[in-house]
């Protein structure tokens, strides 16, 4: 983690996302999108870390990322996802969902499709609606699923003006994040510590399964699914805890790992190397969790940053579960399995709101108005 580049961008960054690389190509990530929040005028921006042909003296590329283009966004950018190579979906605090088009020819962004008032509150007395922030969005071409503070779930299609499916009052509290489990099933997390699975094939407004943290109902802020083992799910909570769930069994997390000191805003499995997990938090830290079991020399690799070893604290004993492939995240033998944790940012700053990983590249954005990029995650 020697090469981590910071750039101050004069706006608080709420989301950072790599543009996906075309399937099967050998390209590495070179473009990412960011969204800002809490500014007078918020923006969705595209940045390039690509080499502009300027090699520096050491033969490496210039580390600075350059702004390609940006566009105004009404309201805070609450979530951001690439729909495909050219399209980005942004969730707004004004309750609208916007699909932006990127035109690579002249490097501009334009609004492709917009669903205004996708999320709204209905007042008890009147018929008028108040907009409610849309808190999360997830895409799986051609579908877009959004969740909001109004506890509503919307299913959009890129080419449809109206929502294809809406589940009103899906949740009595705020929905914080959403992800696909396997189409057409989605996972949502809410502010009372519940993980819900919804199946769009089922009619009605009830989730097909509810899993929850026991006891103190700590809000969950983020969720990600293991890229290969779809039953393995990671969530991050308000107390900074990382929970690993096996959605096939039980209604409680398989393990709870003590992590950050404040809200965990995002958690991501590495898409192609899922023994690695990344989390970021309000406390200004960004962590790399390495659960790969065959890395005897790990500590020497991660000489930079504070290294510490955490043990799994299994809260449900599932030793008798027979699995052909036991995920390193689900194993419950505390003596054998260790997770190496590395802190990736040199010094604590304000909240790290978002991160994304793709291949050897990582990008994160902070409230201190800086974007950090590294291209040597595993070197």
């Amino acid at each position: 983690m020697e090469e981590i580049y910071a750039k101050f961008v004069s706006q608080k960054i709420s989301k950072t996302r790599w543009r996906p690389v075309p399937a099967g190509s050998l390209q590495t990530a070179d473009t990412f999108a960011t969204g800002s929040w809490d500014n007078e005028e918020n923006r969705v921006s595209l940045w390039s870390i690509g080499d502009f042909g300027n090699l520096d003296s050491d033969g490496g590329f210039e580390g600075d990322h350059q702004l390609l283009c940006d566009i105004k966004h009404h309201g805070d950018v609450m979530d951001l996802q690439f729909f495909d190579q050219e399209r980005i979906v942004a969730a707004s605090s004004t309750g609208s969902v916007t699909l932006f088009l990127h035109h690579p020819n002249n490097q501009t962004l334009s609004v492709g499709q917009q669903w205004t008032a996708a999320h709204y509150h209905t007042s008890p007395g009147s018929l008028s609606c108040r907009s409610a922030p849309c808190t999360g969005v997830v895409c799986s071409n051609p579908e877009i699923v959004t969740v909001g503070e109004d506890g509503r779930i919307n299913l959009f299609r890129a080419d449809h003006k109206e929502a294809v499916r809406t589940i009103d009052n899906a949740d009595s509290s705020t929905l914080h994040a959403v992800t696909f489990l396997r189409t057409p099933e989605i996972l949502t997390v809410n502010s009372i510590g519940q993980l819900k699975i919804w199946d769009f094939r089922q009619q009605g407004n009830e989730p097909s399964q509810i899993l929850s943290l026991t006891g103190d109902r700590v809000p969950l802020h983020c969720v990600d699914r293991h890229p290969n083992q779809q039953h393995v799910v990671a969530t991050g909570g308000q107390d900074g805890m990382l929970s690993i769930w096996d959605v096939r069994q039980g209604t409680m997390p398989v393990s709870l790992l003590k992590a950050h000191e404040a809200e965990m805003w995002e958690v991501h499995f590495h898409p192609s190397n899922p023994d690695h997990l990344f989390t970021c938090s309000e406390d200004g830290s960004l962590w790399h969790w390495d659960a790969s079991t065959d890395a005897p020399e790990k500590s020497s690799l991660f000489h930079e940053g504070r290294s510490s070893i955490f043990l799994f604290h299994s809260i449900s004993n599932q030793a008798n579960v027979h699995q052909s492939v036991i995920s390193s995240w689900l194993s419950t033998d505390p003596a054998k399995d260790r997770i190496e944790i590395t802190s990736l940012l040199p010094n604590r700053t304000l909240s790290v709101n978002s991160l994304d990983v793709l291949g050897p590249c990582l990008v994160c954005g902070t409230d201190a108005e800086a974007i950090y990029v590294t291209r040597q995650l595993f070197s």
Partner: protein, 721 residues
């Protein structure tokens, strides 16, 4: 965002002398004619500080700021004083009159102290310096002596490099700007930043580095070289030309190099001259030798100051002799260079153009006449240099006063002057904090508030918070730096917490995520009152939006029993109206939070009764229902509903309520009916309601009596068997 027209009031009380109060700077006018004058009470004023004339005495009359479009004779004005800015709005309280006098829409003027500082680029300055600031506060107190000093110097250099980075970016923008007015504005900001860096650098040398005689001059030379940097462009220009010697600026360049004490480079230039002109080759060689042999203090050697002074004296005499002998008489250029190297004041003043400013003159003069100047003597030379350089033609500008105060080692004067001249608090707050860490400000306490460091930090942090406020009103680059402000408040031991408490409650909570961030700040600092109030705001919002589940969550988080009761009542009311519960996912999972308020406990238990009933666990359901009433958890008003809920249980085939329980139920019913207040004038509606009620009671009595009979029989027969 600079003013469009009219002069702009500047000055007034400096922060060191005022008890706070809003500050005014340029006015933000949008149309309308200048009609009246409003008085403003200013602190650090507007940015045109380099062009400021002589500063008046600090405690003079407050300056007048012109606000266009205000007619004071008609008393149309109202003020709103914000913590960081003054809001002036033109209003007319008489609507009729307004429509006559001011056709069209009313206009609002915002007078802001530091309008042009709030640019995109300066946000980087604020954010980056925030990191340095926090790092500085964490510097171990144990560090003493050299390592501590080295750390503080490094911090100071970090601050300066951030200023420089901003300056460079601003410069690029100024060059790229197409609109000349815009470009001018950026350029003026570049000059402000450059002045900030200049002052900071000098303070670093004098107060933080505390360079002793000898090294002091070397530092001052570096300082001048860093800030008079046109020479580098000139050097490249001359060396890049085909024949440097024939370049029109050749001698100008050599002179500047000598003035800046860059003698090695000057010597190289001279050798070029010597090579091409045999007539002056000899003279050039002699002058070059003089340059080479000038004794300088080289750091790291054990040479004492006395030795240096002795050597220097010899060298000086040698120069003197050459001049006396007329060695350079045939070349006026070389002769004037020699005079400069002798520290000849008249010769130096001839180069006024090249020296640019008096402090350059001062440093050059010291270099060639008092190379081992002691810090304590600096102010004497500084004052005379300033007087000589200005020569009574012009009076010193604010920047001159600040630098002079620094040379006099009057830190408080430096901070005071900077506060007046600079357009925002960033500079003074950070500099003062750093100097305080050098333990230079301990003795100075203000007669109000706390010490000066804290006062300035509070002002700066308040500005960061105030930033947020009138976002709708102003078109300027308002932003959201409140998160930075929090850390500054944290490091103000006396009033920081109180200020944070006042400010944090005023942050608009547009989304829950933002609210969570604010809550986290409060919770980390055990600001329970603020946590409660924020949760309450969010709970209220949720209730208004008909999101009872959310509302309940927030009141549980705030441990706000009263509000939890209110929300529970709403749930119960909705139940009574609709016959079913909403938000079951929350109510079923209340857990220990249920104990927050009696009503919430009742809600949870009542819902549990429904669940038991639904699961056909009638006996458990019945005893729970009864206990809700007997334990007084259920509100009286709800008893009738509970008794009605008991009806189907009473009518079940098997006996569910025991005789004992039935007696209890009957007592509850009698309590309820006997305690009924007598109404006054009964109207038709009430009569009808009473009618229904009476029927209900009759039915309940009947059902209870029948159940009692069955229960007695059953219990009797069980006993008998």
């Amino acid at each position: 965002m600079a003013e469009r027209r009219g002069p702009c009031g500047i000055g007034g009380f400096g922060p060191a002398g005022s008890t706070g109060g809003a500050r005014a700077g340029s006015s933000l006018a949008t149309g309308a004619e200048p009609e009246a004058r409003a008085r403003s009470f200013g602190g650090p004023a507007n940015s045109r500080w380099l062009r400021l004339g002589a500063m008046e005495e600090l405690d003079g009359e407050p300056t007048v700021t012109l606000i266009p479009g205000v007619n004071s004779s008609k008393k149309q004005m109202c003020f709103d004083w914000g913590p960081g800015e003054m809001l002036v709005c033109e209003t007319s309280f008489n609507k009729k009159e307004k429509s006559e006098t001011v056709p069209g829409c009313p206009v609002i003027y915002i007078i802001r102290k530091d309008v042009d500082v709030y640019s995109q680029i300066l946000r980087k300055l604020f954010n980056e310096s925030h990191g340095i600031f926090v790092g500085l506060q964490r510097i171990e107190e144990e560090l003493t002596g050299k390592s501590r000093k080295a750390q503080l110097v490094r911090v100071s250099k970090n601050y300066r490099s951030v200023i420089r980075a901003c300056m460079e970016e601003m410069h690029q923008v100024a060059i790229a700007a197409k609109d000349p007015a815009c470009s001018r504005q950026f350029s003026s900001q570049v000059s402000i930043l450059s002045a900030m860096e200049l002052i900071w650098n000098l303070c670093e040398i004098l107060f933080i580095e505390v360079a002793p005689a000898g090294p002091l001059l070397l530092h001052l030379l570096d300082w001048v070289r860093l800030h008079v940097c046109e020479v580098d462009n000139l050097l490249a220009d001359v060396l890049g030309s085909e024949n440097p010697r024939k370049h029109e600026s050749f001698w100008k360049l050599v002179t500047i190099l000598v003035l800046q004490g860059r003698l090695d480079e000057a010597r190289q230039m001279l050798s070029k001259e010597a090579d091409s002109s045999p007539t002056s080759a000899g003279m050039c060689r002699i002058l070059g030798d003089l340059m080479r042999t000038m004794p300088v203090l080289s750091p790291g050697t054990t040479q004492t100051l006395t030795e240096l002074e002795l050597k220097w004296q010899h060298w000086h005499e040698e120069c003197e002799r050459h001049l006396q002998d007329g060695t350079f008489a045939s070349s006026p250029h070389l002769e004037s260079l020699c005079k400069i190297m002798l520290g000849d004041e008249a010769a130096l003043l001839e180069q006024k153009e090249l020296l640019n400013n008096w402090y350059h003159f001062l440093v050059t003069r010291l270099l060639y006449s008092h190379p081992t100047v002691k810090p304590i003597d600096l102010h004497f030379y500084a004052q005379s240099s300033l007087d000589l350089f200005l020569g009574g033609e012009s009076s010193p500008e604010p920047l001159d006063n600040i630098l002079m105060a620094a040379f006099e080692f009057d830190i408080h004067q430096v901070i005071k002057e900077c506060s007046i001249a600079l357009s925002n608090w960033w500079f003074v707050a950070h500099l003062t904090d750093l100097l305080d860490h050098c333990k230079l400000l301990q003795s100075h306490n203000l007669y109000f508030g706390s010490n000066m460091r804290e006062f300035l930090l509070l002002e700066y942090a308040s500005g960061l918070f105030a930033h947020h406020r009138p976002s709708r009103l102003s078109s300027s680059e308002l932003c959201s730096l409140w998160q930075l402000g929090v850390d500054y408040f944290d490091y103000c031991p006396e009033l920081g917490r109180v200020s944070l408490e006042l400010h944090i409650e005023r942050i608009p909570l547009s989304t829950e995520q933002k609210a969570l961030k604010v809550l986290r700040i409060c919770e980390q600092r055990q600001m329970t009152e603020q946590v409660r109030s924020i949760c309450k705001i969010l709970a209220m919002k949720a209730v208004r939006n008909n999101r009872l589940g959310s509302a309940l969550s927030w009141s549980i988080r705030a441990k706000d029993a009263a509000f939890a009761t209110l929300v529970s009542d709403r749930f119960l009311r909705d139940y009574c109206e609709r016959g079913c519960f909403s938000d079951l996912d929350l109510i079923d999972n209340l857990g220990p939070a249920m104990m927050l308020s009696d009503r919430l406990t009742f809600l949870g238990k009542y819902r549990e009764f429904h669940r038991l009933y639904g699961e056909k666990r009638f006996v458990d359901a019945a005893s729970l229902l009864l206990s809700l009433m007997t334990s007084q958890i259920a509100p009286r008003s709800f008893w009738m509903t509970l008794l009605t809920d008991a009806l189907p249980l009473l009518e079940q085939k098997q006996v569910i309520f025991s005789a004992e329980q039935t007696y209890e139920l009957m007592r509850c019913l009698e309590d309820l009916t006997s305690g009924r207040p007598v109404h006054g004038e009964p109207d038709a509606q009430r009569l009808q309601d009473d009618d229904i009620e009476t029927t209900k009671v009759e039915m309940l009595r009947l059902a209870l009596a029948r159940n009692l009979a069955r229960a007695i029989i059953k219990e009797g027969s069980l006993e008998g068997s």
